[in-house]
Symmetry: C2
Subunit: 197 residues, 2 copies
């Protein structure tokens, strides 16, 4: 098989596995169900991924990377809109599993090894936006980033729970929180005539 | 036993159970561990609570109610500060379990039956604050509430994960998102003397 074929097969497995996780949850996505969802044997699946944990972390990181890419290319609004359009089922599994796995050493190690790729890019994005005067500079770029990702994660919880929100209203409020204040428009006033002494 | 005794016993069970959930997770908090943590027999525990599900929902709602009370009495800042001071372990279990239980009909029914007590009070709080001119009124009070609770939940995820943030910075950014714009201070200018015709 060519590298192209290998990459395509890998992507197919990820796509099928995401569907299985979304439908059955992490525990419920048994190897038999992963086989069914991908149309491949366990031998083929675990040729590409070490185990189910590895497959899951890869999918979780893929989402993070995608949001990172959207942020860098299209800005914050596009990243938030992409989140609002995500599959509620997949987000629910992701949040639940990430949270539960925080005490699983193997999971944490895999996750951190991959997470290192995206976090600095996002941190830099906030620093640059601040330096360019797009974001306010009276709060550190680190805290602006924490505020923004907390809001993003809180909205992910809403999407996962099927709870509605108006994404345009959220973006407007976010902008008012973190954007640099617009310079007050200079109102032209007739110059006062100097009093004659 | 007097009603006071019954209430005290009930509170003791909740306190012990919260500790067991925080330490062992929802699944890991077996009946034997609940007995150990509360110092009571399963017979005594399940005299007060129908089952483990019921106990957990009660604890989850207790947290919601407490935040609601803090919000109504002390305002948003106090509610956010209380969250920042919450036990990371207990928040982690809460988020993970709430998310996983969303497909468990019994859980959803119990949860919704109790959730009805607090949500309207919080909704009203946002409406009132808006009517009093404390919150901006160019975005609906419903969306202001959704924005605020999303941020709160996103920060809860951070607390649960042991990820730091500067609570004062978060509050400042939140205020700038949702507070009514301050009326421009009126600058006292000498009144122009009317021109004599």
């Amino acid at each position: 098989m060519t590298q192209e074929h290998l990459d395509a097969r890998r992507a197919e497995i990820l796509e099928g596995a995401r569907g299985a996780f979304a439908e059955h949850g992490y525990e419920g996505a048994t190897v038999a169900r992963l086989e069914e969802a991908t149309g491949l044997s366990r031998g083929a699946i675990f040729h590409y991924f070490e185990n189910k944990n590895d497959l899951f972390v890869e999918l979780a990181m893929e989402l993070n990377t995608r949001f990172g890419d959207i942020l860098l290319e299209g800005g914050l609004h596009e990243a938030f809109r992409a989140l609002a359009a995500e599959s509620p089922e997949w987000l629910a599994v992701l949040i639940e599993t990430e949270s539960r796995m925080r005490h699983d050493e193997d999971f944490v190690r895999r996750f951190e090894a991959k997470a290192n790729d995206t976090s600095p890019r996002i941190r830099e994005w906030f620093e640059e936006q601040q330096a360019q005067g797009e974001l306010r500079d009276d709060v550190s770029s680190v805290e602006l980033g924490r505020f923004t990702t907390s809001l993003l994660n809180g909205l992910a919880l809403r999407v996962a729970g099927g709870d509605p929100f108006d994404i345009e209203a959220m973006l407007r409020l976010l902008d008012d929180a973190i954007a640099a204040p617009r310079r007050p428009r200079r109102v032209k006033r007739p110059r006062p005539v100097a009093k004659k002494a």
